[in-house]
């Protein structure tokens, strides 16, 4: 997203001056109720349509997940896991993966580019791509493995929680689209209350460990899950049980920073000489040409 927002800022990466904050906004959250999610991928399509980004048509690699992973052009994907309980009961766990919008965002902490990552006062963590230097620190800083660096412009991209929509009083595109009401959006307080009702229902249906995923290791998140098995978040395609910002980020902010900056400078210089001597990278030829049919 760009920085042309009508939202106030709470913090900015690598910046020490105060952030604009005359307006007060409500802390928001998106609640994903996995027990209602059918994995239809309408949210994936809505995300691509609203943000006008989409990956190429890929291939099937033996699972329902498609695209197979997040990318600079795919900001949310459905992760499918077939999980067999000890009693043999099968569950098909389908988790919508994307940025969790941490209250204490590791990406923002790790980012060396001033103002490239911001957190609005409503809690949304946004990448301001025009300030991004493509160093990849946000990738290291993220405990959820979310940001992706674009091969096209070397900038980092991820879910914005539709900050542009939220800024004008709309819900995110994925929420608007979800046909079963598995994704809802509102104040964080309301979402926690709503999750509470869902958890009562799930417990009544025999899911004794149903609970809310709002991990405190990152100060809580602005994207939360209702899980049937909140005691085992990792069964949901590796959702971290207790996410924390990598200690490397703290280290980076301290002693290693000058050293790292030096390495980064050298790398950039090397890249420049590579470009001058070899030229720009070409995209690989379409590896699917073998499947093009014979012309009649």
């Amino acid at each position: 997203m760009s920085s042309l927002q009508s939202l106030d800022l709470k913090q900015r990466s690598a910046t020490t001056t105060p952030s604009p904050s005359v307006r007060s906004t409500v802390e928001v959250a998106k609640l994903i109720d996995i027990s209602k999610c059918i994995g239809c991928k309408a949210c994936q399509v809505a995300c691509g349509e609203w943000n006008d980004v989409r990956d190429a048509v890929g291939r099937n690699v033996g699972v329902y997940d498609n695209p197979a992973d997040l990318s600079a052009d795919t900001w949310t994907v459905m992760r499918f896991t077939e999980y067999e309980e000890e009693n043999g009961r099968l569950e098909w766990l389908i988790r919508k993966d994307g940025c969790m919008h941490c209250a204490d965002p590791g990406c923002l902490k790790a980012c060396p580019a001033p103002g490239a990552i911001v957190q609005y006062s409503n809690g949304i963590v946004d990448f301001i791509e025009e300030h991004c230097i493509g160093c990849g620190s946000c990738v290291t800083g993220c405990p959820f493995n979310i940001p992706r660096i674009s091969k096209q412009d070397n900038k980092a991209y991820k879910c914005t929680l539709c900050s542009d929509r939220v800024g004008v009083g709309l819900e995110p595109a994925c929420v608007k689209t979800c046909p079963t009401g598995a994704i809802t959006f509102g104040s964080k307080e309301d979402m926690i209350e709503q999750a509470g009702e869902r958890i009562v229902d799930l417990k009544e249906r025999g899911y004794q460990n149903a609970g809310l995923y709002d991990p405190q290791g990152v100060g809580g998140t602005h994207v939360m899950y209702v899980l049937k098995h909140a005691d085992k978040p990792q069964i949901y395609h590796g959702l971290p049980a207790d996410p924390h910002i990598s200690p490397m980020v703290g280290l980076w902010k301290g002693a290693l920073k000058p050293l790292a900056l030096l390495v980064m400078g050298v790398t950039a210089l090397a890249g420049f000489f590579h470009y001058v001597k070899v030229g720009p990278n070409d995209a690989d030829a379409d590896d699917d040409s073998a499947e093009t049919p014979a012309k009649p």
Partner: protein, 809 residues
Amino acid sequence: MTNHWVDIKNADIVLIMGGNAAEAHPCGFKWVTEAKAHNKARLIVVDPRFTRSAAMADYYAPIRVGTDIAFLGGVINYLLSSDKIQKEYVKSYTNASFVLNKKYRFSDGLFSGYSDAKRSYDPATWGYDKDKAGYAVVDETLQHPRCVFQVMKAHYSRYTPEMVSNICGTPKDAFLKICEMIGSTAAPDRAMTILYALGWTQHSTGSQMIRTAAMMQLLLGNIGISGGGMNALRGHSNIQGLTDLGLLSNALPGYLTLPRQEEQSFEGFVKARTLKPLRPNQMSYWQNFPKFHVSLMKAWYGNAATRDNNWAFEYLPKLDKDYDILQAFELMGQGKINGYICQGFNPVGSAPNKAKIVGALSKLKFLVIIDPLATETSEFWKNYGPYNDVDPAKIPTEVFRLPSTCFAEEEGSLTNSGRWLQWHWKGADPPGEARGDPEIIAGLFTRIRAMYAKDGGAFADPIVNLTWAYKIPAVPAPEEIVLEYNGKALADLTDPKDATKVLVKAGDQMPGFAFLRDDGTTSCGCWIYSGAWTQAGNQMARRDNSDPYGMGQTLNWAWAWPVNRRILYNRASSDPSGKPWDPKRKLVFWNGKAWDGADTPDMRPDAAPEENVGPFIMTAEGVAKLFVPAGLVDGPLPEHYEPFESPIPVNPMHPRNPNVRANPAARVFKDDLEAFGTPKEFPHAATTYRLTEHFHYWTKHVESNAITQPQQFVEIGEDLAKEKSIKDGDKVKVRSNRGQIEAVAVVTKRIKALECNGQKVHTVGIPNHWGFKGVAKMGYLANTLTPFVGDANTQTPEFKAFIVTIDKA
């Protein structure tokens, strides 16, 4: 649907079987999540695969493909033998008490009246005993040995839990658990809804599968009540509209039927359809058939349809046989059909045995395609490598493509699964030279008519005399077409009790079908749609969602047929005295003077409960039919038969009678019989289906859909994968006796091997969305594999159960 989408939220139990609502109807499935969230509903899913619906279920059980009658017959046996039925409902609202003809028999898998040579039944022995007045004999104690209740009890006593488990492969404890959950809804204050779709219709026993479920619902008292019903989820936004308007080879609009060849006399044709009541005081609404039929002929032929010419009866074709899609392609292959107009239909992808379809199309002189997309059918003649390996030089068929509009590029009405006609408005202009379907058809028709008018021809009358009173004859407007369906008065219609009182003025739109006449003074193009566009305007465009009873009925949102009734048979929601069975579900009740409530009553408004008018007004019995004396070609009670291609070599219900292994009354053409495979060569069960990410063969033309599910795959269980050394992502080839496809393997825990009749049955799941046109990766049409046989009654192809073999490619 007997009920409607929103009403699903009122269910206590939702049974998804013969369908996969979460996968194929994701938007409608929201009402299941509503029922779970706000009504504490429990969701049961029975399916050969652990589907997206199963992922949402409170209880899931596997079943072998094509064995649903065995499963449901087992549930009926459980309900009857453990007395989990709503007795008062069964006694008063079904034909349980009707006494059957002495000659009715069922033995060795066959009902009485079967002819081996004709592979068909004469239903003469399936009727009721009649009294002197011509009424059916009943025994309200349900004890008579020949009453439907006792006959049914005996028939299904063979469907023991052991037998069910043996045939279906469903573990016995899972089956019994589901029986218990279903049985809980026999209580008058509990309701179960059944959501099904092509998982039941696409079998050689499809109609009977649906009937078995309906019988189960009747025993539980779940029909006609809020949160209950038999709910067919239609696979296309307007496929309900298609059937309503009679776009089937043997139908006329509004479920009127064409005469058969032997029905040359108009009187005989009318008499056979004007059903007299079989019990005293019953409405037997088809007694009004002449009004609907004559009004239709007046709409079509105006002044050319007169009493003297039997309302142009001779214009109607008389069927020597049904001309369903299977028959049409069989005849095409024989060279007997040599021109074909294919409107919004992609038979190369959508009809069984692709090789047969392409072979048949290759014999045509001309093929006209009316479609917004370049379909596989429009390019059946073009070589697409292994995906369509044909030689264009050897195909003489001339193909014309007439590009049409998409739904968003036109206005009109769509009829949803819940029978709501909802008007929609145009969102965009069509691209290029695309035209709306009415304009294309009108263009063809007006030219053909001009040629007949000028040059004459064999039997030109039905063509030159057809009413075509549109302002611009070559471009009929959707409004004009609906006005015609709704019908109008051709003369002042006076009150039969008071000739001075005019009910409808000449030229006015009909208020509803109750005002139609059989004397030529009314016209109506589709009687069930009468009321959609009245003098008060377009009822389908109404958008008031107020819900005064809080039951989701919203009678002022759009318009539902018939007469804006949202739940069919809703009189059955009250007991015989007119009091709601469940005070929480006050759908329709007797208020002392009239029927009242949250819905348009399905009853004569002033028929006091003491008159004993049964709630199933369309039947001659006045009650619902557990046993069907006439109307189905393959038996009055559902019986389990194996699919035509089954991994099990015998019918475990009748292991010693090979003639009843598969449906003995289903039509099979000779070449197709020979194209069936044997379990020895093709040991695995297979089934085809849709995925949420795609809609049929359309959305592979759409980039966003192609991204979310880009490439053809087949699903197999871990056991079979191990046996065949297949890993996730491997290329595999799947072969039936009719052809072979290649796809990526998805190895899954969601398809388990089942133990059936002493053998292990693996199932291969084959999604059907890929082909050789579009922006998704090219793939093989799934119907390369499927068998060319249909349901005995509807001829809907058996896409859901056949046999294959699979190997690593």
